[in-house]
Symmetry: C2
Subunit: 132 residues, 2 copies
DNA sequence: GCGCGTTATGATACTTTCTGCATATCGGTG
DNA sequence: CACCGATATGCAGAAAGTATCATAACGCGC
């Protein structure tokens, strides 16, 4: 159980169990910044997609498992940082309101999907080559 | 300057300036986890390399621009999570003490470099293809 | 016009992480 | 043995990011 060290030196902290590098997992993340601030990421993409799918920011937030407040804030952040509208919102009305993506948002999503596609898989492959 | 919206609907917030998607920058990050906790990353790699280069955790921390406390903590974290020694430390002595990487750390660094090499460049390339 | 569901937004609390400071220990050297 | 410089570690406070709560506005239908 104890790790062997150079003779004559004793451990200051408890010995650590030797590991076979098992169950290590590679992780990767990409995003897009403007002036050092995030404007698009996998999470934000998922949120935008949920908005497109449900037609509602409130429903999208619930789908994503985050408070409406947070979802709204993230959208506003991206919009301000990009200097463009991503969501076209309708406040009030029969159903209370609705949200849909702007053309700019759809364009951005399309480009971002191209950018991010397969990156995670590549890292996984690299990991298998280097660590297995 | 103002974004055009569907006629008859007025903006709730100030109009946003249209953007040409200029000066967007792709960013990427990879790391390795065990049980959902970080054990290696670019930052940790740089720290380990600084330790190897300087032979001292204190000097490495200064080189990295972080307090000794933080550097030490990160090393301990990785060691505990991995279940192996990464740094072989000498406390006291003529020069006050020293630190050097274990074989396990060198092995891990070697593998991690292989894993991470060129990922950032690939993302840059992808970005140019998708956004330019 | 009242209710309902949604967008919009401020204020506050909470969580997690990082930083700063303080203190102890270690072990050669003068 | 006292000193020095480095490791080792606790703890309180700062800072950043997120969640919670509360409230207002909106606009259609009954």
């Amino acid at each position: 159980m104890a790790n062997e060290l150079a003779p004559g030196r004793k451990l200051k902290t408890r010995d650590l169990a030797p590991s076979d590098l098992a169950d290590l997992k590679p992780r990767s993340k990409i995003w897009i910044e403007r002036s050092g601030e995030v404007v698009m990421s996998d999470w934000r993409m998922a949120l935008l997609e949920a908005i497109a799918r449900t037609g509602s920011l409130a429903k999208a937030a619930e789908e994503m498992g985050v408070p409406y407040r947070s979802a709204w804030q993230k959208i506003k952040e991206s919009e301000e940082r990009l200097g463009m509208r991503l969501v076209d919102t309708q406040c009030g009305g029969a159903d209370g309101g609705s949200s849909q993506l702007t053309e700019a948002a759809n364009d951005l999503l399309f480009r971002y999907r191209q950018l991010s596609e397969g990156i995670s898989e590549l890292v996984d492959k690299r990991f298998r080559e280097s660590f297995c």
